[in-house]
């Protein structure tokens, strides 16, 4: 019964986007996560973002590993191909899929256990490869699906449901991504849709690996004091850095946006991200500055959210492999097979 979908009767009130679809068209099956799980809020933000961008759902592929977070691709974009793979190894599947068909928009959803424990190596190398995917790490500091053990992003000292204290430092996905030369690094909070949706949209438009670490409290196993992944904690301590309002290529009107101090960065798909600096002199194109900024607030017990770093120039897997413009899946066989005459010529080499 897990995957019964909702009645699809279109309520006339439901607004249509540029390609005539309603938000409902971007939904998926009914969630099977715990009521109040942060992951469900992220799913809602993802649905909103795709709808806003008027992306045809079937032009998207949604992939994940294993975990509560990794179940969520079933809950959005019903008309997109989904791949709920194995634990921690989704990055390599996305890399392969993207190599085969570059015309699909890829979104990978993972958890902190899936990405920072078993999957750490694959995540790091997908970042290095700059695979063109929006990678959403739904970060709750625990292994939700196996009932609350600490993950690698659990905070030192925080107590588990069973009362044990975590003794190790947390891995900060954003610092890690910056260190590995990621070209897009952001952090959001599942409870803050207003900030999260623009981040997701910016990530989708980025050419290359767009990493978004989303603090997503596990209400069942990790929403208690002593954890920086709880609703309470994050609401208090989250210091907004950069608000990314995405202007779709379709319309160039920007006047409707509140000006203030603004800085624009051109994305590789030709669209602009307009960055509003909230934290004084914050420069989202300064890799080392971002790293330091995160570290400083980390020491002050604060979690920095927003668009932390955006490389003004990013060469993705295909740029590096120098592949043809068309997806490899669409190159005709005739252009792939040299034929028998060539084979005969070639074999002179072997005599």
């Amino acid at each position: 019964m897990t995957y019964i979908t909702k009645p699809r009767a279109h309520h006339p009130a439901l607004q249509k986007n540029a390609i005539g679809l309603t938000r409902r068209d971007y939904e998926g099956a009914i969630t099977t996560l715990c009521a109040g799980c942060g992951h469900d809020s992220i799913t809602a933000a993802i649905i909103q973002a795709f709808w806003d961008l008027s992306i045809p759902p079937h032009k998207v592929a949604k992939l994940s590993g294993i975990g509560c977070s990794s179940k969520t691709p079933a809950y959005f974009l019903r008309e997109a191909h989904g791949f709920n793979s194995v634990h921690g190894r989704m990055p390599s599947i996305v890399a392969g899929a993207n190599a085969a068909n570059r015309d699909i928009m890829y979104i990978g959803v993972s958890g902190d256990g899936d990405s920072l424990s078993i999957g750490l190596g694959q995540l790091c190398h997908a970042i290095r490869r700059n695979v063109n995917v929006l990678y959403v790490l739904e970060n709750n500091g625990v292994y939700g699906l196996t009932k609350g053990q600490f993950s690698a992003s659990a905070d030192p000292g925080s107590l588990s449901k069973r009362g044990e204290a975590n003794t190790m430092d947390a891995i900060d996905g954003c610092l890690l991504a910056l260190t590995l030369g990621a070209t897009f690094v952001a952090r959001g909070f599942s409870g803050d849709k207003a900030q999260l949706v623009p981040l997701i949209k910016a990530g989708l438009s980025h050419k290359g690996f767009a990493f978004i670490d989303v603090i997503s409290p596990c209400v069942t196993f990790n929403d208690h004091d002593g954890s920086t992944k709880s609703y309470g904690y994050t609401r208090e301590h989250n210091v907004e850095v950069v608000q990314a309002d995405f202007v779709p290529p379709a319309s160039a009107i920007t006047t409707e946006y509140d000006p203030g101090t603004v800085r624009s960065v051109l994305l590789h798909d030709g669209s602009w991200v307009r960055l509003r600096k909230l934290a004084g002199d914050y420069d989202p194109t300064d890799r080392d500055g971002s790293y330091q900024y995160i570290r400083e607030h980390q020491k002050a017990g604060e979690v920095v959210t927003g668009l932390l770093y955006l490389s003004p120039d990013s060469s993705d897997l295909h740029d590096q492999a120098n592949t043809v413009a068309a997806p490899l899946t669409q190159v005709p066989f005739e252009a792939l097979c040299p034929g028998n005459d060539e084979l005969q010529r070639l074999q002179k080499r072997f005599r």
């Binding site: 897990t2 032009k59 592929a61 791949f83 599947i93 890399a95 392969g96």
Partner: protein, 600 residues
């Protein structure tokens, strides 16, 4: 042994790793080959980059036998570190060539072996300046000496050098000089000719000399593979390197100079097979070459591809296991692993090439099978097939070939169906149609390694689970009819059968001839694909005794046969050699005779 043996002998060159003997050995091989004489080379190298012992074995066979022989008529002993061992491998009455720049080492002296001293170092130091050139040319010099000793055609050698160094006149010059040094010295000082000798034939006109990894890479190229993912590992590395080379030659878009392929060097084998699964899922033909350790690491992913029904082509160029084992020695130790890899109930299609020709053909075929049956397909070769130079008939390609993509629904076809369900056995052949991302809103489905029903929905219901897993088993069973049929050769009056797989073929066909000559007639079958078809069972049941010849300790082929055909063990006599060298006819014969004596 003093009657001359024309075009039917073997010799071995012992050097140290990293001294650049490879080009000299290749030159000798090609020269003999160009003389129209069947020849095979086995490179016995260490798992090291410089300094450790390495050998090159060349067998000349009028009859065209390509198996390794452990008996050497002549030894070129260039490596003091292995003198002791090397000299013992020369057959009585044979010859030993050594560098007489230094006095003959006591360890090399054997009364029943004629030693031939040639001052290679001395001559090269005199003829060449610079350490590097002196070391390298010493190799070419022994090639020259062998040319004289064995009667190679100097013109052929000159032509070869001309072709090779057409753009490097200086190198050509020194090579010629070096050849002459060795050749002339022998001509002047060695009372010849030896009783082993080369004489021009016409047996190689339609043949090539090629290694199996290069041939397999060609198969991938011709079958239209566009995504290759890999992590380097001996002896599989050269497969992807060859593929890369061919793609750079044949797969670059003329006007844009951009690539019609993507080769991803993964961070490890788990990632490599993950990339292959991702690429295949998205619709590309993708493959990964690896060896035993890689297969072990891929195990979890292999189960995903099997259960979620995603095509994947995996080359296992087997080496001596278990664990790291002997990375530069050969074995057939992964037969069981590949057939049933991963936890839970699984069974996989496997192809077993016996030489570079089949490596080429099966590589191409593997993509059709993987896509048609939507499952991982293993091509199991080994270090001997993959990295050694084999003489095989020229490769041919049927230009009428078009990829068999299996059941992949197009946007148009999807328009036809009311709602698409991924795992419905519509045609009753166990194969459910799939769709590719991005094609049509109606094609969407959710791929998962967790329990799913025939509609593709998540399930924890036992009956729904069983329905799908049973269909998958039916599907794989059907593949038994699609994999290459066994090669069968019946001998008149034979009561017993000889059954083998892969690279053992060369040794077995030679053994069959020799045994026949001794009056022991055997029917022959070489299995080429898994699951086994009915004809495999038929052959086994037709013989009270089947000798199962293979290169592993545990008789893995025999195990597969027992499990899949139910033929009782009494009819399956195991003949095994697994020391790391390619199998020889002598291994086969000795093994069979031992069994026959036990029986008698």
């Amino acid at each position: 042994m003093s009657t001359p043996r024309i075009n039917d002998f073997a010799f071995k060159i012992a050097t140290a790793n990293g001294t650049g003997s490879a080009s000299a050995n290749a030159l000798i091989m090609q020269a003999i080959f160009r003389m129209g004489i069947p020849v095979t080379g086995k490179n016995v190298f260490p798992s090291n980059i410089q300094g450790l012992p390495t050998w090159y074995e060349i067998r000349v066979s009028r009859q065209g036998y390509t198996a390794r022989t452990p008996h050497f008529d002549l030894m070129v002993a260039m490596n003091p570190a292995t003198y002791q061992k090397d000299v013992t491998e020369v057959r009585p009455g044979g010859w030993l060539v050594y560098d007489s720049t230094w006095p003959l080492d006591a360890r090399l002296i054997r009364p029943d072996v004629t030693s031939i001293g040639i001052p290679l170092a001395e001559m090269c130091n005199a003829a060449f300046a610079g350490v590097r050139e002196r070391i390298l040319m010493k190799n070419i010099a022994y090639a020259g000496a062998l040319a004289a000793l064995l009667g190679m055609d100097l013109d052929v050698i000159r032509t070869l050098l001309a072709e090779k160094f057409s753009r490097k006149p200086a190198l050509m010059e020194s090579n010629r000089t070096a050849i002459a040094l060795g050749y002339d010295y022998v001509a002047q000082h060695v009372p010849g000719p030896l009783t082993i000798r080369l004489e021009a034939m016409d047996a190689t006109a339609d043949a090539i000399l090629i290694d199996g990894n290069t041939a397999a890479a060609l198969g991938c190229l011709y079958a239209g593979a566009t995504v290759g993912a890999w992590y380097p590992i001996t002896p599989a590395t050269s497969l992807m390197e060859a593929f890369k080379g061919f793609c750079q030659k044949f797969r670059v878009e003329p006007d844009t100079k951009r690539n019609r392929f993507a080769i991803l060097q993964a961070e490890d084998e788990l990632a490599a097979v993950g990339m292959v699964i991702g690429a295949s899922w998205a619709g590309a033909r993708a493959f990964t070459p690896t060896s035993g350790p890689g297969i072990s690491l891929m195990s979890e992913f292999i189960g995903l591809a099997y259960y979620a029904e995603v095509p994947a082509v995996i080359f296992d160029v087997q080496r001596t296991g278990p664990s790291t084992g002997m990375p530069t020695r050969t074995q057939q130790g992964d037969l069981m692993l590949c057939a049933y890899a991963s936890h839970g109930d699984t069974r996989h299609i496997c192809l077993y090439p016996s030489d570079p020709r089949e490596a080429f053909e099966f590589a191409a075929a593997s993509f059709d099978l993987a896509e048609r049956f939507q499952t991982p397909v293993f091509v199991l070769s080994d270090l001997d097939i993959g990295m050694n130079d084999w003489m095989i008939p020229k490769l041919a390609w049927d230009d009428a070939y078009r990829p068999d993509r299996g059941k992949v629904l197009s946007a148009e076809e999807l328009e036809g169906v009311k709602t698409f369900h991924r795992y419905l056995d519509a045609d009753g052949d166990g194969i459910a149609a799939r769709t590719l991302p991005g094609i049509s809103p109606k094609g969407a489905f959710f791929t998962r390694g967790s329990g799913h029903n025939r509609f593709g929905a998540y399930t924890e219901d036992g009956d729904e689970y069983v329905e799908v897993i049973d269909r998958i088993e039916r599907k794989i069973q059907h593949a038994a009819r699609a994999v290459p049929a066994p090669v069968v050769k019946m001998a008149s009056g034979a009561k017993m059968g000889l059954v083998t797989v892969g690279g053992c073929h060369a040794a077995c066909v030679e053994a069959l001839d020799l045994l026949a000559a001794e009056g022991v007639a055997l029917d022959y079958m070489r299995v080429r694909g898994f699951p086994f078809g009915a004809d495999v069972t038929k052959f086994l049941e037709a013989h009270d005794v089947n000798f199962i010849v293979e290169q592993n300790r545990d008789g893995q082929l025999r195990s597969l046969i027992m499990l899949e055909t139910g033929v009782p063990i009494e009819r399956l006599e195991s003949v095994r050699y697994y020391g790391g060298f390619p199998m020889s006819a002598t291994h086969v014969i000795a093994g069979i005779k031992a069994k026959l004596e036990q029986a008698a």
